[in-house]
């Protein structure tokens, strides 16, 4: 059980002297509170696995410190840190039974046999592995094996955090839901800090109460799923979270007005303090743009296609070079292949060089 603090933590596989753009993990300072369920979300190669391995001690960071409950554990080896990790592919000790697999970490630490048996039985029950304890672990299916990997972490009573590295990659889709809700239930029951790495936003948003979005080695935003959806701090977050992602449109912004292709869109807040020379874009979620019959005063766009997602339809449209998605209300049709776009000013955000700018009320 522990609070985890990352203090100016960074890692470069090429050493600290390499230019910072090449760092696999760019300097980050943040706190993971005890008992939280966190998801590290980002595309492949964004540094999320590096961050996870730094926390577990498989990689020694080239810079900064990691504190578990305010104790610096950066120089400690993986064995000495009280963490458990579940890998992308199930790791099972082939020659052992399920029970022996679960007992392995305790045996290595010289725990008395009676204590081991008690813990193994307890974890076996918790993970619904009881009927299999005396079976060879190799013969089980991938999801059972992942549960064993998890069990080897949980069996230690001193475990501070459980790290998951895309643990559902090899699990059949219908079992993914089951296993994920099992993880949620365990989290509630055991009051453990869990950190879950994934590139799947559904997994991240359903599992975690705090989602940490990473992009290009940097933590770009950390917040609740609702925060990430409503107020992305970075255009990448807007685009990566949500399906379809946020519309990001180059625009000129002055005061309470944004100008796209010469067309003026009203904004709710005033933006007078935009940095000079920055690339200005506005971002608005497709859910807050309506495709309607073209009318004077509305931005006109060309419809490329309409995606029917069942409960909701999205029109894929084009304004100049920019591609947008907009909600197509029921009954909307277009006779000439064009649509007017109606924006909800409350949900338009302004970005300067990809970073969110707060407007003045």
């Amino acid at each position: 059980m522990a609070r985890i603090d990352l203090v100016d933590l960074a890692h470069s596989y090429g050493g600290n002297d390499a230019p910072q753009e090449t760092f696999a993990l760019k300097p980050v300072t943040m706190t993971w509170r005890q008992g939280g369920a966190y998801a590290l979300l980002g595309p492949s190669g964004c540094g999320k696995t590096t961050l996870l391995n730094v926390i577990s001690g498989i990689i020694t960071p080239s810079r900064g410190k990691i504190l578990f409950d305010e104790v610096d554990i950066t120089p400690l080896s993986t064995q000495k840190r009280n963490i458990a990790q579940v890998f992308q592919f199930p790791v099972i000790y082939d020659t052992m039974t399920v029970g022996q697999n679960l007992a392995f970490p305790l045996k290595n630490r010289g725990v008395p046999k009676a204590e081991i048996d008690k813990r193994v039985a307890e974890i076996g029950r918790l993970l619904d592995l009881e009927p299999y304890l005396n079976r060879k672990a190799t013969r089980l299916t991938a999801d059972a094996k992942q549960k064993i990997s998890l069990g080897r972490g949980l069996v230690r009573s001193d475990v501070a955090a459980v790290l998951f590295d895309e643990p559902l990659t090899v699990i059949d889709p219908e079992l993914k839901w089951q296993l994920r809700s099992k993880l949620k239930a365990l989290h509630r029951e055991l009051d453990l800090t869990m950190i879950y790495v994934t590139h799947d936003q559904t997994e991240a948003l359903t599992f975690a109460d705090t989602v940490v979005v990473m992009h290009d080695g940097r933590v770009v935003q950390s917040g609740t799923p609702a925060e990430l959806f409503d107020k992305p701090a970075h255009t990448f977050v807007g685009y990566f979270i949500g399906s379809p992602g946020m519309n990001i449109i180059p625009a000129e912004v002055r005061g309470r007005e944004a100008r796209i292709d010469g067309h003026v869109i009203a904004l709710n807040r005033a933006y007078d303090n935009l940095p000079d020379g920055a690339r200005i874009e506005i971002g608005v979620r497709p859910e807050f743009v309506d495709a309607v019959t073209p009318a004077p005063g509305l931005l006109t766009s060309k419809i490329e296609r309409i995606d029917d997602l069942g409960r909701i339809r999205f029109a894929r449209v084009r304004v100049g070079d920019a591609k947008l998605a907009a909600r197509a209300p029921n009954g909307f049709t277009s006779s000439d292949g064009t649509a007017g776009l109606k924006f909800d000013p409350a949900h338009i955000h302004v970005y300067a060089d990809s970073l969110l700018v707060e407007g003045a009320a």
């Binding site: 890998f87 592919f89 790791v91 000790y93 290595n108 013969r139 089951q178």
Partner: protein
């Protein structure tokens, strides 16, 4: 659908049939034929039935005594070299680098002995071990160890075993290395997190993951050492006395030295049969070991 009957395709099988007949079936049958006969030269043969086979399995006769003694020596030799080469090969594989340019250097160095022809290996060690001009033999005698593989049976055995270990440990090491390389990094990381010692990692991960390649290594080394001929023949010629005369050397002595075609044929058939049986046992064990790994049912 109408089918026309056409047997011409059988002609396509004919070449294979002929090749197999002349390369395998006919020679083998000739040997079977010889094994039932006795000859005193001049291409004259006399029927002897299963007489040679009876003699072969009876230690009190000359033929049986020589066969069983050489068979015993052969089995002992195979066991000794397996007991040395397999653990040694594993140790070598474990201590090899996992990446970097040194990997290539190690692989090439290890592969070198495997590329040397048998009788060159024999000649190398024959000269290497000579007490008068060989580096090994001369040095050993110079530091006061009385070593002479020509006159001392124990020295001859040690020479033959060390030579085989030198020649073939690489094969075991390379196979094991391939097995080790196929273990995903996550296993080692998980073991680290589980607090496993070096020995526990070896026992729980590396050895079980290597067991397929180890079976292959044991099979190959057993068959090869069981059929060994050239190297001991070049080094010791089967001596001193009969102390390093293995089955194949005995076979050549009987067939070509004494020209006892009947005895030699019977011996070679039994020799062949032993190898086939051992092969079959290994094959069965290996395929069973494979089927055990199939996932059966899951705990969802």
């Amino acid at each position: 659908m109408d089918k026309t009957v056409n047997q011409k395709a059988w002609f396509l099988v004919l070449p294979v049939f002929l090749v197999v007949a002349f390369s395998a079936v006919l020679p083998l049958m000739t040997v079977v034929n010889y094994s039932m006969q006795d000859t005193f030269g001049n291409n004259q043969f006399f029927w002897n039935g299963v007489g040679w086979f009876k003699e072969l399995l009876d230690p009190s006769t000359d033929l049986g005594g020589r066969f069983l003694a050489s068979l015993g020596r052969n089995l002992f030799f195979s066991l000794v070299i397996l007991a040395i080469e397999v653990p040694l090969g594993i140790v070598v594989a474990l201590s090899m680098p996992r990446d970097g340019w040194t990997v290539a250097a190690c692989l090439v160095t290890l592969a070198l002995p495997l590329l040397i022809p048998w009788n060159v290996v024999g000649t190398i060690w024959q000269i290497f071990g000579r007490p008068d001009i060989g580096l090994l033999g001369y040095t050993l005698n110079a530091i006061g160890i009385d070593y002479n593989y020509v006159s001392n049976a124990v020295d001859a055995w040690i020479t033959v075993i060390v030579m085989d270990v030198w020649h073939w440990t690489s094969l075991v090491a390379l196979l094991c290395y391939a097995g080790l390389k196929s273990i995903p990094e996550a296993y080692y990381q998980a073991a680290q997190i589980d607090g496993a010692s070096r020995w526990a990692v070896f026992k729980a991960i590396q050895l079980p993951k290597m067991n397929r390649v180890l079976l292959i290594a044991v099979l190959l080394r057993f068959m090869d050492s069981f059929m060994i001929y050239t190297e001991p023949f070049v080094v010791t010629g089967g001596g001193p006395g009969n102390s390093t005369t293995f089955v194949s050397i005995e076979l050549v002595k009987i067939a070509l030295g004494q020209f006892d075609l009947g005895k030699a044929a019977a011996l070679s058939l039994v020799y062949n049969l032993i190898i086939l049986i051992v092969c079959w046992i290994f094959y069965t064990v290996m395929t069973n070991a494979g089927s055990e790994r199939k996932p059966q049912e899951g705990a969802a």
